[in-house]
Amino acid sequence: MDITEYIQLVFTDYTLRTITLGTAILGAVTGMLGSFAVLRKQSLLGDAISHAALPGIAIAFLITGAKNSNVLLLGALISGLVGTFWIRGIIKRTHLKSDTALGLILSLFFGFGMLLLTFIQKQPNANQAGLDKYLFGQAATLVESDVWLMVIVTGACLIVLLLFWKEFKILLFDADYTKTLGFNTKFIDILITTFIVLAIVLGLQTVGVVLMSAMLLAPAAAARQWTNSLGIMVFLAAIFGAFSGVFGTAISASQNNLSTGPVIVIIAGVFVLISFIFSPSRGLLFKQIRFIKNRRDLQLHKTLAFMYHIAETHDDISHPHTIKILNNFQGFTKGTLQKLVDKHYVTLHGSDWSLTKEGFKTASNLYNQQSENNE
């Protein structure tokens, strides 16, 4: 199936439509919540939570003996929350730093989860096949009820975001100050964290335990490059996340059924890469261009300033001088002289140059500005 065939199928094929919608909504909600995780410098929290969810899935299966995705996700939610609160507890009660606590819980829970998974695989229960899909996710297993669950959680998340927008913003920026204003910072914190855990758990089926944190971080990291407003950042992250979901599903479905989760994550990574390079204010490309342009301007200004000092001593500012006196001056080249002519700052007459009125004015502005800055 090629990509045009796929686009036709999205509108006609029920399964494909469900999967595309599911990954799009998932990308949007994780992108939104991921912005908060990134700004709180809790990027690794998502990774720890998703790994911590694995034993919950295994235990839920062991208890029920069935592969009902809602039950398994409930198990994931509980063990994800337990992992999160253990991390917070460790940070609060011991000398350990948050990266240590995160790494510790992540590997302990994941190790325990893998142990249970291998144990389950040795069981005679035929149902067990496919439980390991939660490691890397399989979007193809999404059904309509899964998508509805995502819609409900996303809706609830949106309502909470709109209601508590100002509380979230101030807590993210300055937690201590928020406390002095009388807000219950613990409540706000738990609210954000709970939604992050919910979004991660919802994504496990599609993207899997191992790669889930990228869904949280990549759209947010990309969005941060384009804006200096929190609202726009959250919105952009949702858009980037949703498109990662849609493109990822499209590519994986049209290319011989490549595993969806990794493809979605790679697409999200492409968004990050493009944003890092091409963002106008923070991107590497424009930074380099600005740097080169500044250096050129500076060369030009140095030559102009030198000319200004000579012209200053004459009554007629446009009194011609020989080009030769510029030769010993650093920053002067034929090129810079030509550029000054192009800008109508300087006119040339044979081997002489003279400053125009405009050039004199520009130079005197530059010079005065400089001495003001030095004060």
Partner: protein, 245 residues
């Protein structure tokens, strides 16, 4: 005139992991003073402010603001944290940060409106930052960021201001601008408590001082207690001030 006690601290003790940071602090701060808290690094200056404001939990002791518990008197108190305590690359503007000063009186869920915006703009003007209102906060200089923090506290229109090193890393112009605002607050009978590092400027800027080094060494009017004896007790070295010269 200075009979009202704005802030009263009783037997306050704070410890990080069993190590006492503040030991049995008793402190009375009269209304309308401009007070410096001085002491060496690790003396617990910031900790004292944070404990009074309920950011840190003391293991013993109590704090009262005009005779009532801090929780009840929150609206009377404004806080200017250390500039370095937040991430200035946060995606927001100067005006937006100053507007945060109104969040406390707004309470939960309610959004700031025109009235709050006007208050924030006025505060920005007071600190001379009005023309920077739409500037992204990472593009402000250190001194400008400090002024933004000050404006955010001014918006709260409190009676008591706690400031954690407001002069740290600011240039002379900003320092003068800030101290002028603090002196204006004092003129309006507000109480201003400042964690301060530059001993040279204490007599010039402040009328009240507290010496702190885990324990409270001394507290009172600058002209009475700001002397070599207390400085030596606080800093542990034989301190000779030549401040008045």
């Amino acid at each position: 005139m200075k009979n009202n006690i704005a802030v009263k601290v009783d037997d306050l003790t704070v410890a990080y992991n069993y190590k006492p940071v503040l030991w049995d602090i008793d402190l009375e701060i009269p209304e309308g003073v401009l007070m410096a808290i001085v002491g060496p690094n690790g003396a617990g200056k910031s900790t004292l402010i944070k404990s009074i404001l309920g950011i840190l939990k003391p293991i013993a002791g109590s704090v009262s603001i005009y005779g009532k518990s801090y929780e009840k008197q929150r609206a009377l108190v404004a806080y200017v944290p250390q500039k370095g305590s937040v991430d200035w690359d946060f995606p927001t503007t100067a005006l937006d940060v100053v507007m945060m000063g109104t969040y406390g009186s707004l309470g939960w869920i309610k959004r700031p409106g025109q009235k709050e915006k006007k208050m924030a703009l006025e505060a920005l003007e007071k600190v001379g930052m009005l023309s920077f209102k739409n500037r992204q906060i990472s593009q402000l200089s250190g001194g400008q960021q400090q002024r933004i923090f000050l404006a955010r506290a001014l918006v709260q229109d409190a009676s008591i201001y706690f400031m954690d090193e407001p002069f740290q890393g600011v240039d002379a112009t900003t320092e003068i601008a800030i101290i002028n605002i603090l002196k204006e607050l004092r003129k309006a009978n507000k109480t201003v408590i400042v964690v301060h590092h530059d001993l040279q400027t204490v007599p010039e800027y402040f009328d009240w001082v507290t010496f702190l080094n885990v324990k409270k060494i001394a507290t009172g009017p600058v002209k009475d207690i700001f002397n070599d004896d207390n400085l030596t007790k606080t800093y542990g070295i034989n301190y000779k001030v030549s401040i008045q010269e």
